[in-house]
């Protein structure tokens, strides 16, 4: 009996090992899948609208809770005044929110005018399910003319590029994702390299020659050479330069200009494929 149980256990382990080995062999190297089948789209058709509703409801709740906390530490005899105060604060909060939104939209508009290329604005619906990989889902998709590989920016700079397109939604691979690579250049030195994500709010500028004079604070822009991103859009600033004792390249750590934790609206740049 014990031998049978042990045999079963080993059989399971062997099957699992074989499955893992097969997957590793078939899938050497990590990559992003682009082509979607009808059943992929069906799954996202179920989850994306719920994500959108969830995000909107939670944002609203957070605002409400924030307003509620204004009222926590008050005395009973001030109830009326506090209620009034809360209403007014809520109103101010709403107005401030509108002001922020107004300012954001103004900046977006300015960006659209400056770049003079057609862009589609979109809202962020959800973020990546994993803690290491970095994607966002936006509420514009195939039906709005969005296609795979289109660049995504906002008024602060480069956000990423489209990797998957569904009917009314699409997924954006952020520049901080380890699978992301964008051709970039240093504004001051004009030295070129490739920006790769580091799975946190930092990127790395690879393939930069050791002799290139890059310093902390230098601005990194898109080079426009790969014909995906328009030339000259800000990516970030040099945060650290690491030169090893040997080798022909240097490693440069970049702080992206976009705050990915607070990103709410983006622009998809419409480029001819």
């Amino acid at each position: 009996m014990r031998n049978r149980i042990l045999g079963k256990k080993y059989k399971e382990i062997i099957i699992l090992l074989v499955v893992i080995l097969v997957i590793i062999t078939v899938n050497a190297g990590h990559r992003v899948e682009h082509k979607l089948r009808w059943y992929d789209k069906a799954i996202v058709l179920i989850t994306a609208p719920v994500q959108y509703v969830f995000t909107s409801v939670i944002k609203g709740t957070v605002r409400l809770v924030e307003d509620y906390f204004f009222l926590v530490n008050v005395k009973e005899d001030n109830q009326y005044i506090i209620r009034e105060n809360a209403v007014l604060k809520n109103r101010i909060h709403q107005l401030t929110e509108s002001e922020y939104e107004n300012s954001r939209l103004k900046k977006l508009l300015l960006l659209r005018e400056r770049l003079a290329i057609p862009m589609i604005s979109a809202e962020v619906v959800s973020k990546d399910s994993s803690s290491i990989f970095k994607t966002i889902r936006i509420n514009k998709g195939e039906n709005n003319g969005i296609k795979i590989s289109m660049p995504v920016i906002n008024y602060d700079g480069v956000v990423g590029q489209i990797i998957r397109v569904f009917g009314d939604y699409s997924d954006v691979l952020l520049i901080t994702d380890p699978n992301s690579d964008i051709d970039a250049m240093v504004q001051e030195d004009r030295a070129r390299g490739v920006i790769e994500g580091l799975a946190k709010n930092e990127c790395r500028l690879k393939y930069l020659e050791r002799l290139d004079d890059v310093r902390k604070g230098d601005v990194i822009l898109t080079s426009g050479l790969e014909k995906r991103f328009p030339k000259g859009i800000i990516i970030g600033q040099v945060q650290d330069v690491r030169k090893k004792k040997f080798g022909i390249t240097q490693e440069v750590i970049i702080k992206p200009s976009v705050d990915f934790n607070r990103i709410e609206e983006v622009f998809v740049v419409v480029i001819s494929q």
Binding site: N27, E33, I58, S131, R137
Partner: protein, 168 residues
């Protein structure tokens, strides 16, 4: 838990993970609900059924991340394998066991992801490693609550009949 409820849970947890948790809690420390589901499968289902549903969970996950389907399936199978191994070999019915049986597979999953990414820089690896530990602990804590929820669902859907449990 019936297959239908399990699939609903996968969808629900995916939505919670991608909207509530990862939008409002720093993603590197937020709990990984989908991994908890895979651990649950490994501990409560037969090998074939568990593996099949791990593949399904991996597939749904792959549509909500930047990693390809096969990579996600690989990470999910690693979680499943470790959880299965622990449940078959070290089963004890206490809190510490439950915590470790969730934490170890999740840790293995995240660690494998890190190694797979080949950052090539020890400092970056170590920084991520620290967050892997924090993420693992938060997942295990939330996982215990999720297991309780599943237990409650099992009782409500009469998968576990309390009347039939006889104390020896």
């Amino acid at each position: 838990m019936s297959i239908f409820i399990y699939i609903c849970m996968v969808f629900l947890f995916t939505v919670i993970q991608t909207s509530f948790l990862n939008l409002f809690i720093p993603s590197r420390i937020s709990p990984d609900l989908l991994s908890v589901l895979i651990v649950y499968l490994a501990m409560t289902r037969s090998f074939r059924e568990g593996l099949l549903f791990t593949l399904l969970t991996g597939y749904i996950l792959s549509l909500h991340t930047s990693v390809g389907f096969l990579n996600i399936v690989l990470f999910s199978i690693i979680t499943f394998s470790v959880a299965r191994y622990i449940s078959l070999n070290f089963y004890t019915n206490d809190f510490k066991y439950l915590f470790l049986s969730i934490a170890l597979p999740v840790f293995a999953n995240k660690l494998f992801m890190l190694i797979w990414l080949r950052f090539g820089n020890f400092l970056i690896f170590m920084e991520h490693f620290l967050y892997v530990i924090i993420g693992t602990v938060s997942t295990a804590v939330v996982g215990i609550l999720v297991f309780r929820l599943f237990n409650w669902i099992d009782v409500m859907t009469k998968r576990i009949n309390l009347d039939s449990i006889v104390e020896e």
